[in-house]
Structure formats: structure tokens, C-alpha cells
């Protein structure tokens, strides 16, 4: 690919020397370290004088501690990383009139957009790998447990899913930076999509589920099939959100005790009792099977998003560039 490496290299240099990147990584490292040390100290206290449970190490990432877990944090704020890295990638060059100059060099036109996406994805990968390593190091010191090979593998899958997830948001923001000429507009549009998927889709899902399968507030004398239907509708709609896809997939892959990505409804005392008899961790391969549809969907929406972005960019008349 002609020119792609040169542009990739410049974009990486730009990212690493930008204040934006510094802020993002400072924020993530700060929050990550705070969560990990809180959780780590909690585990230290609780597990004093007890045999260490299996997969204790992964608790560092999934345990909610006082506020939220690291996994939840990335699920919620990860999109912002992607958006910050991409929202002005094309229209900044357009505003500063460097894009037409760039395109009049002997390079493929798609090299510009490919290199920008790849550079953003590479930055995301570097930041995430770094923070997971930092938390792991901190965790080993605090709880004195070294991760086993299965835990390392689960973390690796978690990392890949996270990189994909944040790259999806990078794609969204690059798409808006291709469509809109003003950087403020593209930033706001990306944020609007983020807010929609993180807050409003669950509201909408609940509303639609109530409309299609109305269940009362009381819970007494409910029709079980209606409750199941209510739950199904709500699940299906919220699965449209990449955020749900991602958080379902990652919490399941990082918690071997979880047998399904779905929350269980109607946990009566007897059901609870019968379930607790099967409390043994799921093998890695089984966990992977459960989340495969989620991971495939994540890959698909990421590629779809970048594909649209690519098409729009390639078809734009140069005059408007």
C-alpha cells in the first residue's frame, strides 16, 4: 500500500505528542490504578487466613469494589477514547487545507483513511495493553497471586474484545469526521451516538418491552410466559447496542462462574439452591462458545462502520475535499 506506512507513522507521532492522548492515558491509568488498588486491598482483607479461591486474579478486573469495576469502566468510557482519537481525523485536514495536498501526492486515496484508522487502533491497543499490565503488576503485589495460564488467556481475549469495541467507536468518529466539515459537529455527533447507546437504548428497551409484554409492578400473580417475553424483548433491543454486546461478552469471559451472558429472571430460593450445586467454573473453551456470537457481532459492526466510512470517503468529490 503506497503511502500507508508514511501516513501511519505520522499519525502515530501526532497522537503520541498530542495533549489529548496524554489526558486520555492519564485518566485511564489513574482510574485503573485506583480501582485496582481498592479491589486489591479488599481482596487482601477478605481472604486473610482463607484458602484463595480460583480465578482470584480476574477479580481485579471484574470486582466492583466501591464504585465500579475496571471492565465496567472501559465499557462505559472506552467509547470516549475512540471518539477522542478520531473525531477530527479527516475534517481537521480539510479545514487546514492539507487534505487536497495530501491527495495530490502519489498515494492511494484509501491509504489516508486506512492509515488513520490503523494508527488510532494501534494507539488504543497500546493504551489498553499498558493499563492491563499495570493493573496486573499492581494486583500481583497486592494480593500475591500470580495469574495462571487460563487467566492470562482470558485476559488476552478480553483485551482483543476491548480493542475491537473501542475501534468501533473510532470508526464511528472517523465516519462523522468524513461526513461533517466542522470538527465540533463531528465530535458532538459521535457523542450523541454514544449517549444514545449508553443511556437511551436501555430506556427504550424497557419501554418497548413494557408495551409488548406488559407486566405489573407488583410481581404477584404474573404470567411466567409474559415475564419471559418481557425479558426477551428487552434483551433483544439492548443487544443492538455495542455497549451491551461488549459488556456481556467481557464479563462472561472474565468470570468463569458465569454460565450465560443473560441475567437470570425469577430466582426463587429453591432455584437458587439447585443452581448453587453446580457452582464450578466453566472451562475457557465453553466461556468462549458462549460469547462467540457477541465477539463476531463486535467484529462485524466494527468492520461495517469502517466500511461505510471508507465508501463515503472514497466517493467524495475532490472539490468538496
Amino acid at each position: 500500500m503506497r503511502g500507508i506506512f508514511t501516513i501511519f507513522r505520522k499519525e502515530m507521532e501526532d497522537h503520541f505528542s498530542s495533549i489529548r492522548f496524554l489526558l486520555i492515558s492519564a485518566l485511564i491509568v489513574m482510574v485503573g490504578v485506583i480501582i485496582a488498588s481498592m479491589v486489591g486491598m479488599g481482596i487482601q482483607e477478605e481472604s486473610k487466613g482463607m484458602a484463595k479461591p480460583t480465578f482470584l486474579f480476574l477479580w481485579l478486573f471484574t470486582s466492583t469494589g466501591k464504585l465500579f469495576s475496571f471492565v465496567q469502566f472501559i465499557g462505559f468510557f472506552g467509547p470516549l477514547i475512540g471518539i477522542f482519537l478520531g473525531f477530527d481525523s479527516i475534517n481537521r485536514e480539510r479545514v487546514s487545507r492539507t487534505l487536497s495536498k495530501l491527495l495530490s501526492q502519489p498515494i492511494y486515496r484509501d491509504a489516508v483513511i486506512n492509515a488513520k484508522f490503523l494508527a488510532g487502533a494501534a494507539v488504543i491497543a497500546i493504551v489498553l495493553v499498558a493499563i492491563v499490565l499495570i493493573i496486573s503488576g499492581l494486583g500481583i503485589r497486592l494480593i500475591g497471586v500470580v495469574p495462571g495460564s487460563e487467566e492470562v488467556l482470558r485476559l488476552a481475549i478480553y483485551l482483543i474484545a476491548s480493542i475491537l469495541y473501542i475501534s468501533f467507536w473510532l470508526g464511528i468518529s472517523i465516519l462523522f469526521s468524513v461526513i461533517f466539515r466542522s470538527t465540533a459537529t463531528s465530535a458532538l455527533a459521535s457523542l450523541a451516538v454514544w449517549i444514545f447507546f449508553s443511556f437511551f437504548i436501555s430506556l427504550g428497551a424497557g419501554f418497548l418491552a413494557d408495551a409488548m409484554a406488559p407486566i405489573g409492578q407488583s410481581g404477584a400473580g404474573m404470567d411466567p410466559t409474559l415475564v419471559v417475553k418481557h425479558e426477551q424483548v428487552q434483551r433483544t433491543i439492548s443487544l443492538l447496542s455495542p455497549m451491551t454486546l461488549y459488556s456481556d461478552a467481557t464479563t462472561t469471559i472474565l468470570d468463569p462462574m458465569r454460565k450465560t451472558t443473560q441475567a437470570l429472571v425469577l430466582m426463587g430460593p429453591l432455584e437458587r439452591l439447585s443452581l448453587s450445586r453446580f457452582q464450578s467454573p466453566l472451562p475457557l473453551l465453553q466461556s468462549l462458545f458462549i460469547v462467540t456470537p457477541h465477539l463476531v457481532s463486535l467484529v462485524a459492526i466494527t468492520f461495517l462502520c469502517f466500511g461505510i466510512c471508507y465508501l463515503v470517503f472514497m466517493r467524495q468529490e475532490i472539490r468538496t475535499v
Binding site: T98, K101, Q105, P106, E317, R319
Partner: protein
């Protein structure tokens, strides 16, 4: 002329929807000449340039630039010609050398060769002393000259300049025109200059073409057009008079 054509356009047409931007353009530019491409704003000058560069596909017609079809063979064309867009942009947070080096790398010029060329071309445009400053601090005239330097690192055979003096102060304009003139005389680079600043074009161009509403209404050396339009006996003519005459007729 013994020189061969470096640009040849035949029946070149570009439509945007129903609007015709360039209508059946026939044009030949010879090697080594300074050609002035005139016309009011929105006449289709920039569209024509973009078609020559392979950045826009013509709706119909043929064009060959330095012997290649810009649509089919954009790399050959883009490697050998320089294009200075109107109000050229730079990466403001990089200095002049970094900007030029980026362009050199995109042209696959090895760093060893490009560093020499960068110094040389910065010297030509008289910016060698300002090389360490961020381009964001440059004045308009300096940016425009840096644009020329950027074009020169490719060692082009042909340079397209789109309104190179617009918005420059008188001193900046003079330096720019002298620079363009010397590039043509000393380096034998063909210059294709699009502008509507007629007195400047008259100063440096060998031949001119006048485009109005997508139509090339006149082409030739300025004296010839003066003879044709203003009458032979007139001693003092300006390009402006010729141009206005064509403009009113169109």
C-alpha cells in the same frame, strides 16, 4: 515550436449533475512555457486543474499530462508534477522541514536524498533562516513560498499553480512572481498558472488562455490576442482590456 506538448486536452468535459463546469476543452501546453489560465471566479479553472491532476474524473474527453492519462495512471502524473492549491495548507504544529519531509516520504524519496533537496528548495524560496519555526507562525507570503518549496522537492517537470499570489502584499507578490519566473527560466519547469490577477499574468506568462463559464474562449500569446481583439495599431494594451472584451462578449 520545436518543443513537444506536455499537456494535451481534447474535448475535455466535466459535468456536475446538470451543471457543466468545463465544456469541450481543447488545449496544448508546450514544454518550458509559462501558461496563464485566466477567467472569472467559478469559470472552471480549478476543475480543469483537478482533471489534469487526476483528482477528478472527466465526464468525457481525453487528456494526457507528461505523456500519461491522469485518470488511468495517476501515480506517474502525481510523481512528476507539482500542484500548489489555492491557499495551500500545512501542518501548523510542525516546522518547515518536517512538513517537507512528510511530503518527500509520501513521494517515496529516500530521506538521504530528500534532506539535501529540502535545503536546496528552501534556499530557492528564501526560507532557510526560518526553517526551525513552526509553520503556524508563518506569514501568508512565507506559507505560499513554502508551498513552492514543497512542490520543488519532487523535482517536477510541470507545476500547477492555483492563484499563487492571491492575498499577498505587494512585496510578497513581487517575490512570488520573480520566483515563478526564475523557475521557468533557470530550471526549465513548465508553469501552468491559474489566476484572475491580469497584470501579474501579463508580466510573467508567455501564452494565456481565457476561460469563461467553462468555455475556453481565447488562447495564444498576449500580443496575438491584442492584435485580434484590439486592432494592430494600438501600441499600449493591457491584458485587462483584452480580457474585458472577451468577458463582455461571452
Amino acid at each position: 515550436m520545436e518543443n513537444q506538448a506536455i499537456i494535451e486536452a481534447e474535448g475535455l468535459t466535466k459535468k456536475y449533475g446538470h451543471q457543466i463546469a468545463v465544456k469541450n476543452l481543447n488545449l496544448q501546453i508546450r514544454e518550458g512555457e509559462v501558461f496563464g489560465f485566466l477567467g472569472p471566479n467559478g469559470a472552471g479553472k480549478t476543475t480543469t486543474l483537478l482533471m489534469f491532476l487526476g483528482l477528478t474524473e472527466p465526464t468525457s474527453g481525453k487528456v494526457r499530462v507528461i505523456g500519461f492519462d491522469p485518470t488511468r495512471d495517476p501515480f506517474h502524473v502525481k510523481e512528476k508534477i507539482g500542484y500548489l492549491p489555492e491557499n495551500v495548507g500545512f501542518y501548523d504544529d510542525m516546522d518547515a522541514r518536517q512538513n517537507l519531509q512528510y511530503i518527500a516520504r509520501l513521494n517515496r524519496i529516500p530521506d538521504k536524498i530528500s534532506s539535501g533537496r529540502i535545503d536546496e528548495s528552501l534556499k530557492v524560496v528564501d526560507l532557510l533562516e526560518e526553517v526551525g519555526k513552526k509553520v503556524g507562525t508563518y506569514s501568508k507570503g512565507m506559507r505560499q513560498r513554502l508551498g513552492i518549496a514543497e512542490v520543488l522537492i519532487k523535482e517536477p517537470q510541470l507545476i500547477f499553480l492555483d492563484e499563487p499570489t492571491i492575498g499577498l502584499d505587494p512585496d510578497g507578490t513581487n517575490r512570488m512572481l520573480d520566483l515563478i519566473h526564475s523557475l521557468s527560466r533557470e530550471k526549465n519547469i513548465t508553469i501552468f498558472l491559474s489566476s484572475h490577477l491580469l497584470d501579474q499574468v501579463q508580466r510573467i506568462c508567455d501564452r494565456v488562455g481565457i476561460m469563461i463559464k467553462g468555455d475556453l474562449v481565447a488562447m495564444g500569446p498576449i500580443e496575438e490576442l491584442a492584435k485580434k481583439k484590439l486592432g494592430v495599431d494600438k501600441e499600449h494594451y493591457t491584458l485587462e482590456e483584452i480580457y474585458m472584451k472577451y468577458f463582455k462578449e461571452a
